[in-house]
Structure formats: C-alpha cells, structure tokens
C-alpha cells in the first residue's frame, strides 16, 4: 500500500507549459500545458489532425516546439528543460528513462534482429556486456509480455501484429523507464488482441508505477487505461479532467459530439 500511498508526495515528473508548434501557417498544437506525476496515465484524444501526434512528438523530443517549455524531473539531475538538453543527452534519456511505443511496431523494432536482441539492445546500449545476463533479462521480459520463450531467437517479422506490439513494449520497459509515450498502442490490432494488450499494459503500468502518455482516437482505450484525459481539437486542448468525468459529463460541445458519436456494439 505504501508504494501507492506515496503518490501525493511525489513531485511532478513532467511539466509542460505553453507548448506550440506550427508548420508554416498550419497549426500543429497550440499553447498546451499540463503536468504529470509518477504513476499517472494521461490520455490524449482527438480526431485525426487535432495535433495529438504533433504534441507527442514534441514531448518525446522528436520534434522541436516553437515555444514553450517541457520540464522533466531527471533521475540524476532533477528538473531540467528538455528543450535545453543537448541532443546526446536527450537521446540517452529516450532509451533509458523514457519509453516510446509506436503505433506501427516497424517504427519501434529492429525487424531483422531476434526478439531477444530487440529487448537486449537497451541494456547493451547502456553498457551491459554479459551475454548470459542480457539474455536472461530479455527472456524475463518476454515472459512478462506473454511471448513464448521458444520464440526468443525468432525475428519479429515472423510475429503476429499483437506479438510485435508486445515485443515493442518489452523492448521499451526493460530499462524500467519512468515515463512512457504511446502513440495509438492498440491501433492496428484486432479487438481480441487489443483487449489482451490493454490488460497487459494496465498491469505493467500499475506494477511498475510508470507514468504514461497515451495518444489515441479510441475513447474505449483511454477509458480503460487512462486516469486523466485531454481532448484536443485544432491543436488546442479544449477539455481536460478525470477520464470518466470527461467522457460521462463532457462540457465542451466538441467533446459532447465526440462522445455521442461512438458506435455501440
């Protein structure tokens, strides 16, 4: 209980203020501010073109915002503005204390490297040089994401979409990141596989106390995974709050439209 209890004492992990990014005259995202604490899961929803992917790219250091600041509480240095961090430091952060799960596993995996090698890359990148230990750790993670250990040496191209996505998650979580960015993690998967992945993600996030930012257009996914929700439209955050609050009692006209447009099974 103590681990969860401490939530209120934990400092803010990521503090985003006034982040804007435009492409010429085209607005990507506009004046976005929020903060996230350890163990919190934040969902960002909005239709295609609402700026959620631009925002995620800015947050995860893949895109330079035009204005604003992104303060991250680094493990060894405390709060640092990510935009002032040098590129090698940012790249190092991105493969140790952060995780990035892409919608398309092809963007996040090495398709011609075995599953074990994919998971082992991050530990090797930060200096692990004992084959036996690297492999044991990789297999431990493959087990956690429910990939049969007989597939350790198979290449991801022989895996199903769901397995690839789970492998991507293992590859990211092996360094025990404190913040994970997910871009439509259940995007290309069929519903039955989605359910399993959602359950797995929820369990891992809870077990490891990871903070996560999940971008999706699937409201059912955020309802199950996210504690908090931000709704974006034309680059702006138009409504935010507790996930169930925003979905059950939406105030903004656009959110009401979004929520009432969901097809029922």
């Amino acid at each position: 209980m103590s681990a969860v209890r401490k939530l209120q004492q934990r400092p803010v992990l990521l503090e985003v203020s006034g982040v804007s990014k435009s492409y010429g005259g085209q607005v990507g995202c506009l004046d976005v501010s929020f903060s996230i604490r350890p163990g919190e899961v934040l969902g960002i929803v909005g239709e295609s073109g609402s700026g959620k992917s631009t925002l995620l790219a800015c947050l995860s250091g893949r895109l330079q915002p035009d204005t604003g600041s992104i303060i991250y509480d680094m493990k060894d240095r405390g709060p640092v503005d990510m935009l002032l961090l040098s590129e090698p430091e940012r790249r190092r952060l991105a493969r140790t204390d952060w995780g990035i799960v892409h919608q398309n596993p092809r963007d996040g995996l090495r398709m011609d490297v075995s599953a074990g090698g994919n998971v082992g890359e991050r530990p090797m990148a930060i200096g692990a040089r004992h084959y036996g230990n690297i492999r044991a750790e990789a297999q431990d993670w493959l087990q956690k994401v429910e990939i049969d250990l007989t597939r350790t040496d198979d290449k991801p191209r022989t895996f199903s979409g769901g397995m690839q996505q789970r492998l991507q998650i293992a590859r990211n979580l092996v360094t025990k990141p404190r913040l994970v960015f997910m871009d439509e993690p259940t995007g290309g998967l069929d519903v039955s596989v989605q359910a399993r992945l959602l359950d797995l993600l929820r369990g891992l996030v809870r077990e490891l106390g990871i903070a996560a930012i999940i971008v999706t257009h699937d409201l059912a996914v955020v309802r199950l995974l996210a504690d908090r929700l931000m709704v974006m439209q034309r680059g702006r955050v138009i409504e935010e709050g507790l996930t169930d609050q925003v979905l059950d009692d939406p105030h903004h006209p656009y959110t009401q439209l979004l929520v009432s447009s969901i097809l029922q099974v």
């Binding site: 209980m1 103590s2 681990a3 969860v4 209890r5 939530l7 209120q8 604490r37 919190e40 519903v191 039955s192 359910a195 399993r196 959602l198 359950d199 929820r202 809870r206 409201l219 059912a220 309802r223 199950l224 504690d227 908090r228 709050g241 507790l242 169930d244 609050q245 979905l247 059950d248 009692d249 939406p250 105030h251 903004h252 006209p253 009401q256 439209l257 929520v259 009432s260 969901i262 029922q264 099974v265």
Partner: protein
C-alpha cells in the same frame, strides 16, 4: 461513530446539451447532504429526479456547477469537486467505493482478476487479493467454474454480482451504491444486504439508491428526498435525466 465522512454543500447540477441545440437540463440545485460514519442514506425521489446524477457527482464522475463535496480522506478533509485529478484517483482508490449499475472492465479478463484488481492496486499481495476475491464470489454465489472466465458472457445478475464483489473487496470508508440489487434474486439480495450492513458496522458511510423496498428497509437509516429543480415539462422531451445519451454511450 459520529464523524461526518461525506458532506455535500450547495450542490447544483445542470446539463447543457450542445449537440441538441444547446438545451439546458437543470437537475438539482443547492443540495445539502451529510453522511456519518456507520450511516446509510437512501436517495429518494421519482424517476428522473436526479438520484443517479447526485450519486455520480459525489463520486466526482459528474462535475457539478456549484457546491462542494467534502470527504474524509487519509486524515484530511478534501473537496473532491475541486481536487486535482491525481488526488481524485487516490481518493477513489482508498476512500470512496462506487457500485455502478453496469460492469465496465477490460474484455477477456477472468472474473477472479476483475474482482481482485482494486485490492491489488491498493497494494495488497496477489495471493491475498485472490483469496479475498474467492470469499466474496462464493458469498455472492458465483459458481467456481465461472471464476476463470471473462464476465462479458455472464447474465445481467451475475455481472452485477461481480461488480458488487469488485467494490466490496476494499474496505472503503465511503460507499456509493447505484441500485446494487436491481437485477438480483431474493437470495443474493440478502447477501448484498448483509454486505452493506457489515460495511456499516465497520463504520462506512453509505449512500445508495434502492428501488427495492425490502433492501431499503433493511439498510437505510434515513431517506434523502431530492427536490429536483423541475423545469417546464414541455422543455424536456420524455428523456429521464440519468439516461442522457452521453452517460452510457461509451461502451
């Protein structure tokens, strides 16, 4: 046993339906409700009076226009309507349990895990949580052969019992119950009454909606009449407020 666990003050709620021409639906106004430790308050009023809306507002599921909901949480008094989202999440983890009318969980997760989850989230060991889940499921007469199955295929009554088990696995100091016995048979109704009474004995403050007179008489200490701020009947179509499309639309 006289601690006030939950105190709603001046609570008002109005829905504005932007998708339907900006219609406003006032539900209730200036509600004042105090619930003490060990007390069970039954929300009372005709269908459409706003009972569920009030209950959801107490859980911070709905955002009231004005007023506050003070709850005793972890030795301090917090206004849940004004608290930061992470604080609300924490309050819901440890302080307020809510039994909705419908079970809403990740598909394809076995019943035992569904029930044990809130306890595990609160830091109990998996073994402990599973043991507690087994006890509750047994009491609620969910046959053991169903425990390893996902609840999606269960009957309405079975799903409701799983829902109840999930909400009673943590000893919340405040319990909000939205028709917990709606689709249950007499035997299971009795079990739920027992569970509620046990919660009262351990000092929980309970707020509930009970349509069933038998249950109401067995658990409620007092009735709380909702004076709905009723509007011109012509303005609202025959749509009862708690069933707004936005409420259940998200599957």
């Amino acid at each position: 046993m006289t601690i006030i666990r939950l105190h709603a003050r001046g609570l008002s709620k109005t829905f504005t339906l932007h998708t339907q021409g900006g219609t406003t639906l006032p539900v209730f106004e200036d509600i004042d409700l105090q619930v003490r430790s060990g007390e069970c308050v039954c929300l009372h009023g005709p269908s459409g009076a706003g009972k569920s809306t009030l209950l959801r507002s107490l859980y911070a599921n709905y955002k009231p226009q004005s007023g506050s909901v003070m709850v005793q949480h972890d030795g301090e008094i917090v206004d849940i309507t004004a608290a930061e989202p992470w604080k609300v999440v924490e309050i819901r983890r440890f302080t307020i349990g809510y039994v909705s009318q419908f079970l809403r969980v990740i598909p394809r997760v076995p019943v035992l895990d569904v029930v044990a989850e809130p306890a595990i989230t609160n830091g109990r060991s998996v073994e402990e949580a599973h043991a507690a889940a087994r006890t509750l499921l047994t009491r609620l007469r969910i046959p053991e052969r169903l425990w390893s199955l996902a609840p999606a295929t269960f009957s309405g009554g079975e799903q409701q019992r799983v829902n109840i088990a999930r909400s009673f696995i943590v000893a919340y100091p405040i319990l909000l119950l939205d028709e917990p016995t709606a689709s249950l048979d007499a035997e299971n109704r009795k079990t739920v009454i027992e569970l509620i009474c046990e919660a009262k004995v351990r000092g929980a403050a309970v707020v509930g909606i009970f349509h069933d007179a038998e249950v109401r008489d067995a658990v409620a200490d007092r009735l709380f009449e909702i004076r709905s701020t009723h509007r011109e009947p012509t303005e609202i179509p025959c749509k009862p407020v708690p069933d707004l499309p936005t409420i259940e639309a998200v599957a």
